[in-house]
Symmetry: C2
């Protein structure tokens, strides 16, 4: 591809570093960018630099914050300080926040326990979580919202054990058949969870 302009090659390489984008898609995206307006490209270019240089971890929840020490959620004093929802990643926080139904605070672990990948409790923010729960006396309930995978479950168990003596209510988000789902086509594990988790009607 020595006939490609160098900047184009470099851009294809960069796009190909993104998850789920192979070399062909990267080339297609780069060809498309050749036709972008200069001001749109400037905006894109600038946002990339701002994202890596101005966005940092929030000192309190380990989510993302721009320039300031605390993120917009931790700074918001109108939220319910009795609830703390524990998630693996910022993208999980974003998913819950978009429902508009949760008004407590969050804590982003920054991953999940995975002995196979060498991720132990010290690799994610579990110590910080325990410390926060100890110091923040307003917290009454911890909602464990790690994913329903083997690793996510193990992480939830580990946290539950670590905070057991702190005398807080500990809950786990519900797992079962998704809305609009079909019992006939639901996998066994989910169905078992749905039956175990049944509620009085």
């Amino acid at each position: 591809m020595e006939f490609y302009p160098h900047a184009l090659l470099q851009m294809i390489e960069c796009f190909a570093k993104l998850p789920g984008i192979g070399e062909k898609t990267a080339a297609r995206l780069a060809f498309n960018m050749l036709k972008w307006l200069k001001e749109d490209a400037e905006k894109f270019s600038e946002s990339i630099m701002r994202v890596v240089s101005e966005i940092n971890e929030c000192k309190k929840c380990f989510g993302y914050t721009e320039k300031e020490e605390l993120c917009l959620i931790c700074k918001n004093e109108k939220r319910d300080n009795k609830l703390l929802c524990i998630v693996e990643e910022f993208s999980d926080l974003a998913a819950i926040e978009k429902t508009g139904d949760y008004n407590g605070y969050y804590f982003v672990l920054g991953g999940r326990l995975s002995p196979i990948k060498g991720i132990g409790p010290e690799s994610i923010h579990i110590d910080e979580l325990v410390k926060r729960v100890k110091l923040d006396l307003s917290i009454e309930e911890l909602i464990l919202a790690t994913n329903p995978t083997v690793e996510g479950e193990a992480t939830a168990f580990y946290i539950a054990k670590a905070v057991r003596d702190l005398n807080k209510k500990i809950s786990r988000i519900a797992f079962g058949i998704p809305m609009g789902g079909d019992l006939e086509y639901t996998d066994k594990v989910t169905l078992r969870r749905a039956i175990e988790g049944r509620k009085t009607f």
Copy 2:
């Protein structure tokens, strides 16, 4: 999404402008970029600005060139100046060039005729093509490599008619069953083309 850092929101918007990337994928890509090394992000950011500000149309073939008037292929005097391959877009040129089998020059139309979309001969570089074929006496053969779509075929016909009197050999790339393909599952139009285009064995 007012809890997103502003730079992140802006980046998601930019990613979502790319073809085939919806809002969810855009968010996934942006979340990934948060974890990029600063030097990689700088490279990406820089390549975007360079692509829109330094890459221009080659004055001769209307492909892309970086900073200079002529692209790397047009500048290369070792190629076969008897052959001129006519394609719709630079990405088609790139596909042919990657085979490594073609050693002539190219001409990029910058689109294809499409009366429905209001793209007439004056919207793509057909006049420039005719002029080039008239002036460049070394050209002996024009290879029409527009796509095998209704619009691509119409464009090929139009060009063939426009250069008919210039006394050059005019050829069209072959269409038929792709290598590794299966006759049983080949569509009728392709099969018809394959039979019509049969060659002595």
